[in-house]
C-alpha cells in the first residue's frame, strides 16, 4: 500500500508544481460552456435540462483531457518502465492513477458547476447539495474508464483522437443517467425520483473500476 500512496502523492505533487493540467481543464470546461450557451440561444438558457446537458458535455471533455494527463507524466524518460519494474502491482498503479484522474476531474467539475450556475441563470442553493453526489459518481465512472483506455490510446498512432471514439459510446449509460439525474436535482426533485438513474451510475462505476483493476496489467507495459 505504500506504493499506492507514493504514486498518488507523486502525481499530485507534479500537478501542483506545474499546474498546467488543472488550468487547462478549467479553461476547457469554461469554453465548452460558453460555446453551448451561444449555440443553444437565449431562450434555452433558462432551462434546467440545457444546463445539466451543458455541464456534462463540459465534464466529459475535461475528463478526457484529464485522463490523458494522468498517464502522460509516465512517458517522460520512460518512467512507466521504472514503475513496472518495481514491486508495485499494476492494479495498485491503476488505483493510484484512477484517484489522481478523479481528483483532477472533481476540481474541473467544481469550476464547471460554478460557471453553469452563472451562465444558465440558476441559483447556488440546496440543489447544489443534491447535485454533488451525482457528479461524484460520474467522475468516478469516467475516470475509471478513461484511465484504462488512455493507457491504450497513449501508445497507438492517432491516440488522442481515439480516446473519445472509444470512451464516449462506452460511457453513454452513465452520461444518460447523469444528465437526467442532474436535471432532476437542479429542478428540485427529491432523491427517490432519481433512484433508477443513480442505480445505473453506481452499477457503471462498480463495473468499470473492477474491470480496470483487473485488466490494467494487460494494457500497461510490454513492448
Amino acid at each position: 500500500m505504500s506504493g499506492f500512496a507514493a504514486v498518488l502523492r507523486k502525481d499530485l505533487r507534479l500537478e501542483l508544481r506545474s499546474g498546467e493540467s488543472t488550468l487547462a481543464l478549467l479553461a476547457l470546461s469554461m469554453l465548452v460552456l460558453v460555446v453551448l450557451v451561444f449555440a443553444l440561444g437565449a431562450a434555452r438558457v433558462r432551462s434546467v435540462d440545457a444546463a445539466a446537458g451543458a455541464l456534462w458535455v463540459a465534464m466529459v471533455f475535461a475528463g478526457m483531457l484529464g485522463a490523458n494527463r494522468a498517464l502522460l507524466a509516465e512517458r517522460d524518460n520512460g518512467a512507466i518502465r521504472g514503475l513496472l519494474l518495481s514491486p508495485l502491482d499494476p492494479s495498485t498503479l491503476y488505483a493510484a492513477k484512477l484517484c489522481a484522474a478523479f481528483i483532477f476531474m472533481a476540481v474541473a467539475e467544481v469550476g464547471a458547476v460554478v460557471l453553469m450556475v452563472l451562465f444558465f441563470n440558476l441559483d447556488f442553493d440546496a440543489s447544489m447539495a443534491r447535485l454533488a453526489p451525482i457528479l461524484v459518481l460520474g467522475a468516478i465512472g469516467f475516470s475509471a474508464l478513461a484511465t484504462l483506455l488512455s493507457a491504450i490510446t497513449g501508445r497507438t498512432r492517432g491516440g488522442d483522437m481515439l480516446l473519445p471514439i472509444l470512451a464516449v459510446p462506452i460511457f453513454v449509460p452513465a452520461l444518460i443517467a447523469g444528465v437526467k439525474a442532474s436535471a432532476a436535482a437542479l429542478s428540485g426533485a427529491p432523491f427517490e425520483s432519481m433512484g433508477d438513474w443513480l442505480k445505473i451510475m453506481i452499477a457503471f462505476d462498480v463495473l468499470f473500476v473492477t474491470a480496470g483493476y483487473l485488466l490494467f496489467e494487460h494494457v500497461v507495459g510490454g513492448d
Binding site: 474508464l145 484504462l148 483506455l149 491504450i152 490510446t153 501508445r155 497507438t156 498512432r157 492517432g158 481515439l162 471514439i165 472509444l166 464516449v168 459510446p169 462506452i170 453513454v172 449509460p173 452513465a174 444518460i176 443517467a177 437526467k180 433508477d196 438513474w197 445505473i200 452499477a203 457503471f204 463495473l207 468499470f208 474491470a211 485488466l215 494487460h218 494494457v219 510490454g222 513492448d223
Partner: protein, 237 residues
C-alpha cells in the same frame, strides 16, 4: 476450422436457406395488418440484431481467451468476429432506417433499439479503428481484447439505460414492435427460417475471414523461423 469441406457446406446451406427465407418473406407470410408491407423488414431486422450482438459477444469471449492463453488464434478469431459483426451491424442500421421512413416518415429515430444498435456500431467502429491504427503486435492484440471485453460488459447497462431514457419520453416516438403479437404461425416459421439463414451466413463469413487471418499469422511466424534458419545456416563455424 480450416476445413474447406465445412466451409463449402456452410456456404451452400446458407445460400439455400437465404433463398428459402426470401421466398417465405415475400410470398408466404402475410404482412402485418397494421403496418403493411414495410413490416416485413422485421424478418431481416431481428436476425441481423441477433447476429450483430452475438458477434460482439464473440469478440469479448475471444478476448478473454487471448488474455488467458496467449495463443494468436484467439486474437484472429476476435478480429474476424469484429469485422464480420460490423458488416451486420451496419446492415441493421440501414435496414432500420429504411423501415423507419415509411412508418414514421423520418430516416432516423432515437427509439431504444435503433439507439442501442447505433452505439453498438460505434463500439465496433472504435475497435476496428484501434486495430487499424496500430501495428499487429501481441501488445495491440491485447489492447483489442481489453476493449472488446470492456465494451461487451457495457452493453447490458447501455440497453437498460437507453430503454429507461426512451420510456420517459413516450411522446417522441413509439418503440418498435417486439416479437409479441406473432399470431399467425406462418410468421413464426418465417422468422425461424430467417434467423437460421442469417446465422449461417454469419458463420460462413466469419469462417472465411478467420481462415484468412490465421493464414496471415502463420505466414508471419514462418517468415520469422526462416530468417532464423537462414542466419544459422550462414554462421561461420
Amino acid at each position: 476450422m480450416n476445413n474447406p469441406t465445412i466451409r463449402n457446406w456452410l456456404g451452400f446451406s446458407t445460400l439455400a436457406l437465404m433463398l428459402a427465407s426470401l421466398f417465405m418473406v415475400f410470398d408466404y407470410v402475410p404482412p402485418d395488418a397494421e403496418m403493411g408491407i414495410a413490416q416485413l423488414i422485421f424478418y431481416f431486422h431481428v436476425p441481423l440484431a441477433w447476429v450483430a450482438f452475438a458477434s460482439f459477444g464473440l469478440v469479448a469471449i475471444a478476448g478473454i481467451f487471448y488474455l488467458w492463453l496467449g495463443d494468436q488464434l484467439w486474437d484472429d478469431l476476435g478480429y474476424a468476429a469484429a469485422e464480420t459483426g460490423m458488416v451486420f451491424c451496419t446492415l441493421m442500421i440501414v435496414a432500420g432506417s429504411i423501415w423507419a421512413k415509411p412508418i414514421w416518415g423520418t430516416w432516423w429515430t432515437w427509439d431504444s433499439r435503433l439507439t442501442m444498435t447505433f452505439i453498438l456500431w460505434l463500439m465496433y467502429g472504435g475497435y476496428l479503428m484501434l486495430r487499424a491504427s496500430a501495428d499487429d503486435t501481441p501488445q495491440v492484440a491485447r489492447f483489442g481484447a481489453v476493449i472488446g471485453i470492456v465494451a461487451a460488459m457495457d452493453v447490458p447497462i447501455v440497453i437498460v439505460s437507453v430503454r429507461l431514457w426512451r420510456t420517459i419520453h413516450p411522446a417522441v416516438l413509439v418503440t418498435k414492435q417486439g416479437t409479441h403479437g406473432l399470431e399467425d404461425p406462418r410468421m413464426v416459421w418465417t422468422l425461424l427460417v430467417s434467423l437460421t439463414a442469417f446465422t449461417l451466413l454469419w458463420a460462413w463469413l466469419l469462417m472465411l475471414r478467420f481462415t484468412q487471418l490465421r493464414t496471415r499469422s502463420r505466414m508471419a511466424w514462418l517468415a520469422g523461423r526462416i530468417a532464423l534458419a537462414t542466419a544459422a545456416a550462414s554462421d561461420p563455424k
